[in-house]
């Protein structure tokens, strides 16, 4: 068969969103690849220049459907850096607990999509079912299921509801039991390992050079987790180990995310148990001073950075968002070339695409 270009997307079960992966195949072997993004560009950066600082928070929620809380948290961190606000301790603990729940929910959604990509329908349904547990707690905490609009500049919107700590600890126990089942279902399944091992190899040097961050980077053997290495919020007060794996393949990325879920359970337990009393929100000024603020967090998908320029009014002069997947997907050709068409779903699935933040 002659070589031909195949458009995988913009509407394709592999893409998890609206983007296009053009691959050149020789038979079933990929010889070239070219990701195309931009189908979901909503101009959020431009939109933010016309909104007040408070009004932007619900918009940053819309950056990523999988982990919207991280992005509004990142935005609030950035603006707090710009305004020079110290957030109350209790608010930081609530934020950390909520973000780690969001991380587990996001990773579960990734695992569900990954299972469906590889044809493991039971994995898809089970993960979506268990994600509900965390979504329900977040719903009781914030009032919404996907777009929480929960962090505020200078704290969080609400105090924790009654029974929050009991529910959170119960959910952690449930999740740890479930994770063991997943490990039995995924790791111990020979067919799953056949699809994952030695597939989508991304060397350590390549991963660092191409700007890959988050689980793909740690799956390539680089021990770099912003929560540990450049701590923000109250992460230094928690005990946890950033997950790494030296194998550089899809299985390593899968393993890193599973280990991160374990660590997130640990962090939630500590955050709930150590949560101090006090205020959860302070009055933030309406107008930001002139200057810049930068925030940097460990998103479930990688390193999220925001850079805000204030000009003394109540609206930001410029807001720049660094999406981890936007950079990671540019490394996709490096991983794809040489593998089979069927590996595309495994490789791109292991990157955990989220188009909302990629196209902004």
């Amino acid at each position: 068969m002659a070589e031909m270009w195949i458009n995988m997307g913009p509407q394709h079960p592999m893409t998890h969103g609206l983007w296009n992966l053009r691959i050149k195949v020789d038979g079933e072997t990929i010889t070239d690849a070219e990701p195309e993004v931009g189908y979901l560009h909503r101009g959020i950066e431009k939109l933010c220049e016309d909104r007040t600082y408070t009004q932007i928070i619900p918009i940053t929620d819309r950056l990523c459907y999988g982990s919207s809380l991280t992005w509004s948290h990142l935005y609030c961190l950035t603006v707090e850096d710009l305004m020079g606000i110290e957030v109350p301790k209790r608010a930081e603990y609530i934020r950390v607990a909520a973000i780690e729940m969001q991380r587990i929910a996001s990773h579960l959604m990734w695992l569900a999509a990954y299972g469906a990509d590889l044809g493991l329908m039971a994995g898809f349904i089970y993960c979506m079912r268990d994600r509900e547990v965390f979504i329900d707690i977040l719903q009781a905490l914030t009032g919404s299921r996907i777009t929480y609009n929960f962090p505020r500049i200078g704290g969080v919107a609400h105090d924790v509801p009654s029974n929050f700590d009991r529910d959170a600890l119960r959910a952690c126990t449930y999740m740890e039991r479930r994770l063991k089942e997943y490990e039995e279902m995924f790791d111990r399944s020979k067919v799953f390992m056949m699809r994952n091992e030695d597939v989508g190899v991304l060397r350590r040097t390549d991963a660092m050079n191409l700007g890959v961050t988050g689980p793909p980077l740690r799956g390539s053997g680089v021990r770099y987790d912003l929560r540990k290495d450049m701590p923000y919020s109250v992460y230094p007060e928690f005990e946890f180990e950033p997950a790494t794996h030296p194998d550089c393949d899809c299985y390593a990325r899968y393993r890193v995310r599973m280990d991160e879920m374990w660590q997130s359970c640990r962090i939630i337990r500590q955050a709930v148990q150590k949560m101090p009393k006090g205020k959860w929100r302070i009055l933030a000024p309406r107008n930001a001073p002139e200057g810049t603020g930068v925030g940097r967090v460990e998103d479930p998908r990688g390193e999220g950075v925001m850079y805000v320029v204030g000009d003394g009014t109540d609206k930001p002069y410029r807001l720049k968002i660094r999406s981890p997947i936007f950079v990671t997907v540019s490394a996709a050709p490096k991983m794809l070339i040489g593998y089979k068409v069927a590996d595309v779903v495994a490789i791109m699935g292991s990157l955990d695409m989220c188009i909302g933040e990629t196209d902004r």
Partner: protein, 302 residues
């Protein structure tokens, strides 16, 4: 955890299949499946759930803060006539554009706006999603739900009664009341610094004219813009005082501005606006009502 060399023969099919079989047996024999049969069973929604809005007409003061904070511009203020409340202005919401972010509920200074747990809002027509104030009205809803917002008992000043006697300032143990002269009127008014106030209520007790009363006010986490008054432009037309939803603005005479009329009598003195900013909700209605650029509010759209 598990690696390739740990994989045994059972890994081919038996382990994953035994996992699914356990769920199968549990779902088939021991209990109900996990699904909720939606139209017949409903989810238990937490009280914080953000659904359709509910407006309490009696609490609402018509300040339009909700319409201003809305990121999508999906709220508007509607003028209407109510048999009980007279001529009022109340917000309406286009739920077809609403984000359900809850900022309008959070900013409401009197907690008149709530979000109910009702989420079944589908309609065959976009116009069916435009809820005017009358469709949102439910004056009993606020009493039914648990209050989330913190309340503080704070002194509220009525400038019509105040004589500027300084008794309240003398009584305040936290020294949070300062007497400030009002320019061009020859009077003075107490200015209360609310962050320092301990809600002790002594100022209200000591006031001979009962100009200061203690009342419960919801705490706000929003830094609202404050009106800045420019005396030289003011004509004393009282448009701002009529527009103010929170009774912040009082019109006071400026002695010495009387003009001699032709018949020898003196005209009434000119008036000026006086702001009691402790009560201000920052809505900007006075700014919009003023035709003479006498009020400035940076960052508020006209």
């Amino acid at each position: 955890m598990s690696r390739k060399d740990e994989l045994t023969f059972t890994g081919f099919v038996i382990r994953p299949m035994s996992r699914t079989m356990r769920t199968f047996v549990r779902a088939l024999l021991l209990g109900k499946p996990n699904t909720i049969l939606y139209p017949y069973q409903k989810l238990d929604l937490p009280p914080r759930y953000r659904g359709k809005h509910v407006l309490d007409f009696k609490r609402c003061i018509g300040c339009s803060n909700c319409a201003q904070i809305c990121p999508n511009d999906c709220m508007w203020m509607e003028k209407l006539e109510d048999p009980e409340l007279g001529k009022i202005e109340r917000p309406g919401i286009d739920l077809g554009r609403c984000l359900f972010c809850g900022l309008c509920v959070e900013i409401c200074p009197t907690v008149a706006l709530h979000e109910s747990v009702e989420f079944e809002l589908a309609d065959r027509d976009r116009s069916g999603l435009r809820f005017g104030p009358k469709e949102l009205r439910d004056d009993t809803y606020a009493d039914k739900v648990a209050e989330e917002r913190q309340m503080r008992s704070l002194p509220v000043l009525d400038m019509n009664k105040c004589t500027g006697c300084e008794k309240c300032a003398g009584e305040c143990s936290e020294i949070c009341i300062a007497m400030m002269p009002i320019e061009a009127t020859g009077k003075q008014k107490p200015e209360i610094s609310l962050p320092k106030c301990t809600s002790c209520g002594k100022c209200a007790v000591v006031c001979p004219e009962k100009a200061i009363t203690m009342s419960n006010v919801y705490e706000s986490y929003f830094d609202m813009p404050e009106p800045k008054f420019i005396l030289k432009n003011c004509t004393g037309c009282a448009a701002c005082a009529r527009a103010c939803p929170a009774d912040v603005i009082y019109m006071m005479d400026m002695p010495g501005t009387e003009k001699m009329l032709k018949d020898g009598k003196k005209s009434k003195p000119k008036k000026r606006a006086v702001f009691v900013l402790e009560k201000c909700v920052g809505c900007g209605k006075c700014f919009r009502a003023c035709k003479f650029d006498s009020i400035e509010m940076p960052g508020v759209r006209r």
